[in-house]
């Protein structure tokens, strides 16, 4: 059993090292596409590279946070964070003919969260949800914030009724053992969703399936920060 733990730690280090190394060619591709010039093709290359880098960074961040004994929670403005996520996903959505909208109705004070982890989780969920809309007639993804009894919920929503709590539970059981754990929703291995789930877990803000009108999404609820919000 001890050997198994040692192997897992070794694997973790190897994957972290691999992930760091894999980032370099993506950064090179990103910069080379800028030097070639601005066209639809180079913009697409940039967005694909950015989505890969976001996934790798998310993986590395959750690996780092899991070994840290104490997670630093800040007072995070949820509205500003969602605007930032929306801004960074716009071009990727456009490249996928997907309309990305932001719904931040009302005033939401700051929440207790780790800003870096929260941002990475939502970006990775956003990329995954945009991918999930391929094949849909109306490709829309909505970043949504709303007040709930337990706190403030932020999530990524799309017209994907096949996304259910059962699907997510099953996918978590299949993680690492299936090429398509989110079969019916994502054609990929769903790494972006798993990374987001682990990042949210580190903040004790569990990812869950949520609904808003005709839309279904993956969201997490955060507790409001008691710090004065000067927004």
């Amino acid at each position: 059993m001890q050997d198994l733990h040692a192997d897992n730690r070794g694997d973790g280090r190897l994957f972290a090292s691999l992930a760091e190394q894999v980032k370099l060619p993506f950064v090179q591709i990103l910069h080379e596409s800028e030097l070639i010039g601005d066209s639809q093709e180079t913009r697409l290359i940039r967005e694909i590279s950015r989505s890969a880098l976001c996934l790798i960074d998310g993986y590395l961040l959750q690996a780092r946070l899991q070994v840290e004994s104490e997670l630093m929670l800040d007072s995070v403005s949820i509205s500003s964070l969602l605007h930032e996520v929306s801004e960074s996903l716009q071009d990727y959505a456009k490249a996928h003919d997907c309309e990305l909208t932001l719904e931040v109705k009302g005033r939401f004070g700051p929440v207790n969260a780790n800003r870096e982890a929260f941002l990475s989780a939502l970006k990775n969920l956003g990329y995954s949800m945009i991918d999930a809309t391929s094949g849909l007639k109306h490709k829309t993804v909505t970043l949504l914030v709303r007040k709930q009894a337990r706190g403030i919920s932020a999530g990524v929503y799309a017209p994907v009724p096949q996304l259910t709590a059962d699907l997510v539970d099953r996918a978590k059981q299949l993680e690492g053992n299936s090429h398509q754990p989110f079969s019916g929703l994502l054609g990929t291995n769903g790494a972006g969703v798993f990374v987001a789930d682990k990042l949210l877990d580190t903040m004790q803000a569990s990812m869950r399936v949520a609904r808003s009108g005709q839309l279904t999404g993956l969201a997490a609820t955060f507790t409001p920060s008691q710090q004065l919000a000067l927004i």
Binding site: K23, L24, H31, R50
Partner: protein, 127 residues
């Protein structure tokens, strides 16, 4: 136009940053390690230094401690352009101030265009 010293251990990235900065009219000298940069600094006489934190042998921080010990190089502006995010560099605000680092940038978050504009502003003394 300015002389820029670029400390970049990756040859491809070094060429990419050079091309972007040279296209904006700057002269760029690329060094792949801290020792070479220190030995050539007087000859290169840079108006701006851009460096990666993770260099072979001596780190970017060690290079800066050495550089700042020379009176003539205490004021040259520095951009740290690293493959490690600002949070992961472990550089506190105090250390950044001590080492005279004007900006810490994460390679994948900065476009070449933004980097060139930032360099222009720093060289012109607007930053």
């Amino acid at each position: 136009m300015a002389n820029i010293l670029l400390l970049e251990p990756d040859t491809i990235l070094g060429k990419q940053y050079s091309r972007a900065l040279e296209a904006a009219g700057h002269r760029v000298s690329v060094c792949e390690d801290a020792q070479t940069a220190i030995s050539q600094i007087d000859q290169l006489s840079p108006s701006l230094i851009i460096l990666e934190l993770l260099l072979p042998a001596h780190s970017g921080a060690e290079f800066l401690y050495e550089l700042r010990s020379y009176s003539e190089w205490q004021a040259v502006p520095v951009i740290m352009l690293s493959r490690v995010s600002a949070a992961e560099t472990g550089l506190t605000a105090k250390t950044r101030a001590e080492l005279g680092i004007d900006q810490v940038l994460y390679k994948q978050d900065i476009t070449l265009d933004k980097l060139v504009r930032l360099c222009g502003r720093i060289i012109e003394g607007d930053q």
